[in-house]
């Protein structure tokens, strides 16, 4: 388990359990990284930070999905428009690589306007809507030839 790797692994039981049990609780959000006192010591600083990063969105504070399109890099190739599964489902022309109809369908996530990609509506992105593995969709980011799409949580 990845989280376990970053714990002190000393089983000092200051948290009231073993490191492994602590890691499991961390995963389920029952405890926070700060609940492990040794982890706050300077020598574990790096591990502590990595853990914080890993836990990111799962930890208490709600993180919000952002999909940023860098319009300086984008050249409007339309790959994101075509490959986004939500677009494919609601905009039939995009099945054959064509630009979706205008005006955009209400679920449509991307469109190309004035030679640049434009994010229309994030609400229906699979990262928000879908369940299970589909929720891990990141094809728009993966296949953009200009590396202009970035999925982030802020």
């Amino acid at each position: 388990m990845e989280l376990y790797k970053y714990l002190p692994k000393t089983n000092c039981k200051l948290c009231g359990k073993t490191c492994m049990a602590f890691a499991l609780d961390l995963l389920q959000g029952k405890v926070k990284a700060d609940d492990c006192p040794p982890l706050l010591e300077p020598k574990y600083k790096k591990q502590y930070e990595t853990l914080k990063e890993l836990l990111g969105s799962e930890e208490g504070v709600e993180k919000e999905l952002r999909i940023n399109v860098d319009t300086d890099l984008c050249d409007g190739c339309g790959i994101c428009v075509t490959i986004c599964p939500v677009n494919a489902r609601y905009c039939p022309p995009s099945l054959s690589g064509k630009a979706p109809d205008y005006p955009p369908e209400k679920h449509q996530l991307f469109q190309v306007k004035g030679g640049k990609c434009e994010l229309l509506e994030l609400k229906y992105c699979r990262r928000i809507e879908a369940e299970g593995r589909e929720r891990e969709c990141r094809v728009c980011e993966t296949y953009c030839p200009r590396e202009a799409v970035k999925i982030e949580y802020v």
């Binding site: 339309g78 054959s96 630009a99 205008y102 469109q111 030679g115 296949y143």
Partner: protein, 435 residues
Amino acid sequence: MKRSVCSGCSLLCDDIMVKSDGIYIDEVFGACLKGKEKFDQVTSQNRILSPLIRKDDTLQKASWDEALQRTVDLIKKSKKPLIYGLSNSSCEAQLKGIELAKLINGFIDSNASICQGKVLDNAVNSGITLTTITEIINKADLILLWGSNAAESIPRLLNKVLFSRGKFRMTGREIKTLIIIDPVKTASFNTMGVRDVALRITPGKDIELIKVLKEECCAADSIPSEGVAGLDKDDMKRLLQHLSGAEYGVIFVGQGLLTPQKNSNLINELLELVQMINIKQERGRITLAMMGGHFNMNGFDHVALSMYGKRGNLHFKDNQILETDENIISKIENEDFDCSIFIGTDPISHFPMSLSSKLAKKPIILIDNRNSATLQLASIVLPTTITGIECSGLAYRLDHIPIELKKIINPPSKIPTDEEILNQIIQKLKSDGGN
């Protein structure tokens, strides 16, 4: 909001939505940046709106009548005129260009000849079919980009051929294999998935790769263990496996392969390789598609074929067609011309120095809509409309499918089209007699 065709490159995307009041273009949806830039040309700083003629060694504004008269006078004096360009013009204009060449006993050639040359002829002769975009979308399971930076030259090509979900390829990207053979890591490499094959070939060694693959087709295990052309043996084996295992494979032949190379018959070798693979093929076949640049790159071949039964350049003498092996390059190299007419092209910047310096020595008549290095050296400049935006016309897509371009807005200052300008020159030459 009107549906329209983009004439930004030879893909001629027909899914563009344009918002316009008939005078200006307000918004363009669906076109890539390159296409958008084409639409922007209408109001660009670079646009020329008035005829120009060279007086006292500077270009000065002139009236249409004066510029046309000068053009005709110059053509009449010329014994060996050269007409070149026309790949950014409609087929109608190309037809007029050929008519003019015949009338003035000139040599006419389009931009296509320096990149595609005889590829099409040779492919057809060896029985290899060229495929169409629609077929690729619906059937292809293997896309090979060879020496072509698709993401750069035809920005929406990969979107259409690789990411679309065609009739028999419903799952889209996952079911298609992408192979790229290129010396540099282009933006197209970013569209690769885990199962795809990236081959970084040593520049200029494509011919060696083809030869070894051909040998391997004849007798297995003839690939040298150290590999060739900077590629290792396993990669080459995988490449060949993919090619011979594909149900419907397409090789996109790019500029890297099309640029004529001295002493090497790269394209013919490639065609032979494709033939050999197709014989080995168990399930399907490999087809070719050519990556053109200018939007009507293929049109001239079709017009010439329908008029005179041959593709490529035409040479006229005594108003008859002359069989010749010459092309635009050899014509310029041998300085076998005394005046040139360029239509929608900028050879002074595109040709190598050795050729452009020769062009610059003879009078140039330029028919174009924007400022360029060629314009700076021209004797006469006739401004023209932007085909596909300010006038309609026929063009052939990169897969040789005819597409009708539509007029969206009126040209500024009542500028005539390429076709009209060429026609005016023809009529004036005829009515003035002589030649």
